[in-house]
């Protein structure tokens, strides 16, 4: 019977109910999409690093995921290959970060092709001339680039000669020498990728390399990915936490306002229930049940909106991948329910503790 009363109360003011559900849905969507974008960017970045096909990565010591600059000697790869026969390939690359979360990579295409096990070109060919570029399919889609079109990179026009698969090192590739000339990085690399013969003792080689070049970071690619994932998650968590706090606050305020309005509107009905013997617990629980239904409906709508949001982002901003994190789908639901319950707490308490005589005489 109380369930029926709760449902009827919600249906009695459909617009208010709908708006509250929508607000809760927006809260959930904000949390799910924000975490999804953060996780998507990280995962995509890690996927591209893994896609190089290297076993060991050498970087400047201060460098992490977002690498810019070049101070590793260009002689290092050949020197290492000469010294360690188990190294089957050593490849240097230069990385420029223009500031839009994307990177432009200068790399020898043949070396990248060999190390990664082959980079699929969907259209065109690899670069051959200094001011030619290859972009990945996602970048091409976002920027609406086709083969033969010119793009401006680092203040210079490059002809796009090929569109390749995504997930191999970078989204934009230019010749190594061109990058070095433009940035004044002749004779230097930003990072060096090393591939070793199958069955080699990678750990032992890393230990030796660390002794040989102590002023560089030498890690297995798997360790680097794990380290990067941890540090990026730590950095992004602060920002994500702020967004989540704002989202939960919005939900809290909207639910509180909706329930407070409902209590004011139903003052007399609360008095009626009290007059026929409803306890404080029951009055409060009616409000809390309404809130729970609004929250659950809002969470369900929020999940739906998140799917729609992800599709819209993928259409409008293909460079921003959104990955739904199951833990955060549940986390968003829990935070929403807690926020909503807290928001309904005061109105529920106000209703439960209302004086039956006063509420019955409320006009």
């Amino acid at each position: 019977m109380v369930h029926r009363l709760v449902l009827r109360n919600l249906l009695h003011r459909p617009l208010r109910t709908l708006l509250t559900i929508l607000a809760v849905a927006v809260e959930v969507t904000m949390i799910v999409l924000m975490v999804g974008v953060s996780e998507g960017l990280l995962t995509e970045s890690l996927r591209r690093t893994r896609g190089v096909g290297a076993d060991i990565l050498i970087r400047p010591q201060i460098s992490s995921a977002a690498i810019g600059g070049a101070d590793i000697s260009a002689r290092l790869p050949s020197m290492l290959q000469d010294r360690y026969p188990l190294i089957t390939q050593a490849m240097g690359a230069t990385v420029f970060t223009p500031g839009n979360l994307q990177t432009i990579t200068g790399v020898d295409w043949d070396q990248l092709d060999a190390m990664s096990g082959g980079v699929v070109l969907f259209e065109g060919r690899p670069y051959e001339a200094p001011f030619e570029a290859v972009v990945d399919e996602v970048y091409a889609r976002q920027e609406e680039i086709t083969v033969g079109q010119a793009v401006e990179l680092m203040g210079r026009d490059f002809d796009v000669v090929g569109i390749c698969e995504t997930g191999k090192m970078s989204r934009v590739f230019i010749p190594l020498e061109t990058m070095s000339d433009l940035q004044g990085w002749q004779g230097r690399f930003s990072q060096v990728y090393i591939k070793v013969a199958e069955g080699s003792d990678i750990r032992a080689l890393i230990d030796e390399l660390r002794e040989l070049i102590p002023n560089r970071s030498v890690d297995s690619v798997e360790d680097f990915l794990a380290l990067t994932a941890t540090s990026v998650r730590q950095m992004s968590s602060q920002f994500v936490n702020i967004i989540i706090s704002i989202a939960v606050s919005i939900g809290f305020i909207v639910v509180m306002l909706a329930m407070y309005t409902a209590v004011l509107e139903r003052t007399r009905e609360i008095g009626i229930l009290k007059a026929i013997g409803a306890s404080k617990l029951m009055i409060g629980s009616i409000l809390m049940r309404e809130t729970l239904i609004l929250s659950v409906a809002g969470i369900a709508c929020g999940y739906g909106l998140s799917v729609v949001g992800r599709e819209l982002v993928s259409i409008r901003y293909p460079l921003i991948p959104v990955i739904f994190v199951p833990e955060w789908l549940a986390g968003a639901a829990v935070l929403t329910v807690i926020g909503s319950a807290l928001g309904a707490g005061y109105p529920a308490w106000k209703a439960a503790s209302a004086d039956p005589c006063e509420t019955l005489s409320y006009e």
Partner: protein
């Protein structure tokens, strides 16, 4: 109905209630004493501000007195906690209000059933439910929301709600105050029937001396927080 023939169902002694508005004390009841026997129909007449509603609310366990004592079916009200008074409203008292006070989102039947649910009697005593609905002549209106019922029908639904848990006392506050004369007669007749045929104790507040005389075995007059002219007809 649970009654004790050796003591009155309602026993009120020197009942006082003072409302405080800021620093001003406003006495509403100034020492009311009265008894109501089980099965009696008592009408309380008096002008606005005479203390009728305050007395009604105290007897119904919705308001705590400032002084004096009220005993309902052997239970002293002045010592009850808020939660205990809530329990009292479930089991000892049924309310009928001038404005009907039905829950607008529920149907007539649901308005009655929710009182059963609150009292923990959902699904029990179906025979009594059916009998009440029959006596009150509202069986055919059970699926209707209050907004589609006439005033008289709404008040009869309210009476059914008040009595569905078999409370010893029915408190009716101006039950015909919002009704036209035709519906007023129907409601008063129902109250008389319940009292006469089923022994229901009724305490009714009214402005209408004719209604009081018509229904009640005893009419009490209230003025300035006191019962001024108790008399037996």
């Amino acid at each position: 109905m649970t009654t004790n023939t050796e003591r009155p169902l309602i026993r009120i002694r020197d009942l006082r209630k003072v409302y405080r508005f800021g620093s001003v004390d406003v006495p509403a009841l100034r020492g009311v004493s009265m008894d109501v026997q089980a099965g009696e129909f008592v009408a309380l007449l008096g002008p606005s501000g005479s203390g009728k509603s305050t007395l009604f609310h105290i007897v119904g366990g919705m308001l705590a007195p400032t002084g004096g004592s009220v005993e309902i079916d052997g239970v002293r009200l002045e010592s009850l906690s808020d939660a205990q008074r809530t329990e009292l409203r479930k089991s000892k008292v049924g309310f009928v209000f001038q404005r009907f006070n039905l829950l607008p989102t529920l149907t007539a039947e649901e308005n009655i059933r929710i009182a059963q649910h609150i009292a923990g009697r959902a699904g029990k005593d179906e025979g009594h439910f059916e009998e009440l609905v029959r006596i009150l002549g509202i069986r055919h209106r059970m699926r209707h929301k209050p907004s589609t019922l006439s005033g008289g029908e709404q008040q009869r639904v309210a009476i059914a709600r008040a009595l569905v848990n078999r409370p010893p006392i029915l408190l009716a506050d101006e039950p015909t105050g919002n009704l036209d004369s035709e519906n007023s007669l129907v409601v008063l007749e129902v109250l008389k029937t319940l009292n006469r045929d089923f022994g229901q104790t009724v305490m009714m507040i009214t402005h209408n001396p004719d209604a009081a005389q018509e229904c009640a075995a005893r009419v009490l007059h209230m003025r300035d927080g006191r019962i001024s002219e108790p008399r037996r007809d």
